[in-house]
């Protein structure tokens, strides 16, 4: 975790710097004096109920909107000095993943990923190699000729992630990437994001589901009513399998309100810890 450093916004270790950011829509204040930085290779969960300003904050980072006051710095791009023609080049350094995947449904999985490289003028050979590698990484190499509609939600999200990574971004922004998915697929996506992060790409994932992410030992940014409530690192519980299992059980508990399951989870964890 790095301290916000407005004196040196181009700090090499900083991928994203948000400094005293305020965003107003008319009378409503969506974000109020938000400051934080994300270092190279860091993994950050942004947690908060819907309406807390998570999506707004992400939009400020990929500069779909500008702050009312304050500053956002992404690599060499500074929100207060941004020109409209620079925006495409910012977007190539920031991979974005959405809850609704936003795939182009008039072309194949391969072309959905490839188009992001074609618009940069990469050679067909480079494109073919890179897209194949990425689809392999997300486990969809065998479905590259299919249309997105024929894939499951989880698979579509994996295509979207491959697309976001294709131009080697320094950070991946994910806005509720698991919001439309069943628990199993959500887990797969989370695992994939961890894997991407361990390969060196910073990840900022927004989610409203605190219980889902609290056991992974990652930095968590709590957002509520447009303010940063808390910015802390959670403790790790068990190994990755346990954590995901805990998530699964937590979800089940929430769904059914089943006390039995809660007890079983507690038992399981305590027996494993004592081993």
């Amino acid at each position: 975790m790095t301290e916000p450093n407005p004196q040196n916004p181009r700090d090499e270790r900083t991928v994203i710097g948000v400094y005293h950011l305020t965003r107003e829509y008319g009378d409503r204040q969506a974000l109020e004096d938000v400051s934080f930085t994300i270092a190279n290779g860091e993994f950050v969960f942004m947690v908060g109920p819907s309406g807390a300003g998570k999506s707004t904050l992400l939009r400020m980072i990929y500069m779909d909107e500008y702050p009312t006051s304050g500053q956002v710095v992404v690599g060499p791009f500074v929100s207060t000095r941004m020109k409209r023609r620079d925006i495409p080049f910012l977007r190539r350094r920031v991979g974005i993943v959405f809850q609704d995947y936003k795939l182009l449904d008039d072309r194949t999985v391969f072309d959905n990923v490839a188009i992001c490289m074609r618009i940069t003028g990469a050679s067909p050979f480079t494109i073919k190699r890179r897209v194949a590698t990425l689809l392999n990484d997300v486990g969809l190499h065998h479905k590259q000729r299919q249309m997105p509609q024929s894939l499951s939600g989880g698979e579509q999200q994996r295509v979207a992630i491959a697309r976001a990574l294709v131009n080697h971004p320094s950070i991946l922004l994910a806005d509720e990437p698991t919001g439309n998915l069943d628990p199993d697929s959500a887990e797969d996506i989370l695992r994939l994001l961890f894997k991407i992060n361990s390969a060196g790409t910073a990840v900022l994932m927004a989610t409203h589901d605190h219980s889902f992410v609290k056991n992974f030992g990652q930095r968590i940014l709590h957002l509520r009513d447009g303010k940063v409530l808390e910015d802390h690192r959670t403790g790790l519980v068990g190994n990755m399998g346990d954590r995901l299992e805990a998530v699964r059980l937590e979800r089940e508990r929430q769904r059914r309100g089943d006390h039995e399951i809660r007890r079983r989870r507690a038992d399981e964890l305590s027996t494993r810890k004592s081993d």
Partner: protein, 289 residues
């Protein structure tokens, strides 16, 4: 650069292939509105042809006094030929005039037998230059020839020319107004047809922006697509127009179709209108960040 062109063509073709229904609807709408334009242009073309044919017929007869001698006539011939508007002067003798008259009368030429002497005068048939075949030029030429010695009368159908000029003026005015309306509505319909395509692909544009495509990359395939649609629509409208022209030969036998050159200019114009139309329809979309 080459890669960029390939990308643009690929994208345009992909859209046409994937959205066949929308593309065909848009082409049909365009071709009908272009047909309107084409019918108007063909009508104008034919009317102008008629007008120029009528103007080609324009001639002037200079009738000579009876007592004019050979030398005087020779003198007059030279003077008329020197007028700047005149291209050709031909002497028509009394006898030749009578012979023409007899031929015109045909079966009724017997009537001329009752005449004791030839009442027709000697005359000059004056053909004006191409650019002087207008009412005003004819009037001023006649005013200069009339006072020459030995000239009895100058005739060039002044009453007809006056009426012709008035009709032409009205015709040009109506043509201009109708043309303006037709072109405007064609542009309107085409840019709306393109907007239909653009709206249906709003999501695509949004996504391309999110993954970092520059406006050029987003705009270009649409422009190519618009040009393509307008081109196909123009060919269709020409085909329809040809059918209309063939059918209306029953009513107007003299109707002629566009020359190859004019058809080519028409096609090119439609393609340009199509690209401009798509550019206009897209402008608003590109203002999004």
């Amino acid at each position: 650069m080459l890669r960029r062109i390939f990308y643009i063509i690929d994208e345009a073709l992909l859209t046409v292939k994937r959205h066949k229904g929308l593309t065909s609807i848009s082409i049909v709408i365009m071709s009908l509105s272009l047909l309107m334009l084409a019918v108007f242009l063909l009508a104008t073309d034919n009317v102008l042809k008629l007008v120029s044919e009528a103007q080609n017929e324009m001639k002037m007869y200079v009738y000579l006094d009876d007592g004019v001698s050979q030398t005087q006539a020779q003198d007059l011939y030279q003077k008329i030929l020197q007028e700047p508007e005149v291209s050709e002067v031909q002497f028509v003798s009394k006898d030749e005039a009578m012979e023409d008259f007899r031929q015109q009368l045909g079966d009724d030429s017997d009537l001329l037998g009752t005449l004791r002497a030839n009442p027709l005068p000697n005359s000059f048939l004056v053909t004006p230059r191409e650019e002087s075949k207008t009412r005003d030029a004819m009037v001023s030429l006649a005013e200069r020839i009339q006072p020459l010695p030995g000239v009895e009368e100058v005739r060039y159908g002044r009453e007809f020319l006056d009426r012709f000029a008035k009709v032409l003026k009205a015709l040009y005015f109506v043509n201009g107004v109708v043309g303006f309306i037709v072109i405007l509505s064609a542009l309107f319909i085409i840019s709306n047809a393109v907007r239909l395509t653009v709206i249906s692909r709003r999501k695509t544009i949004e996504i391309l922006k999110l993954v970092g495509a520059t406006n050029g990359y987003i705009l270009a395939p649409f422009i190519i697509e618009g040009a393509f649609q307008a081109g196909v629509a123009a060919v269709l409208s020409l085909g329809l127009l040809w059918c209309v022209a063939v059918l209306s030969r029953n009513v107007i036998p003299d109707i002629t179709f566009f020359s190859t050159q004019k058809a080519a200019v028409y096609l090119l114009t439609c393609v340009v209108i199509g690209s401009i139309g798509s550019g206009l329809a897209l402008r608003r979309m590109l203002k999004m960040r």
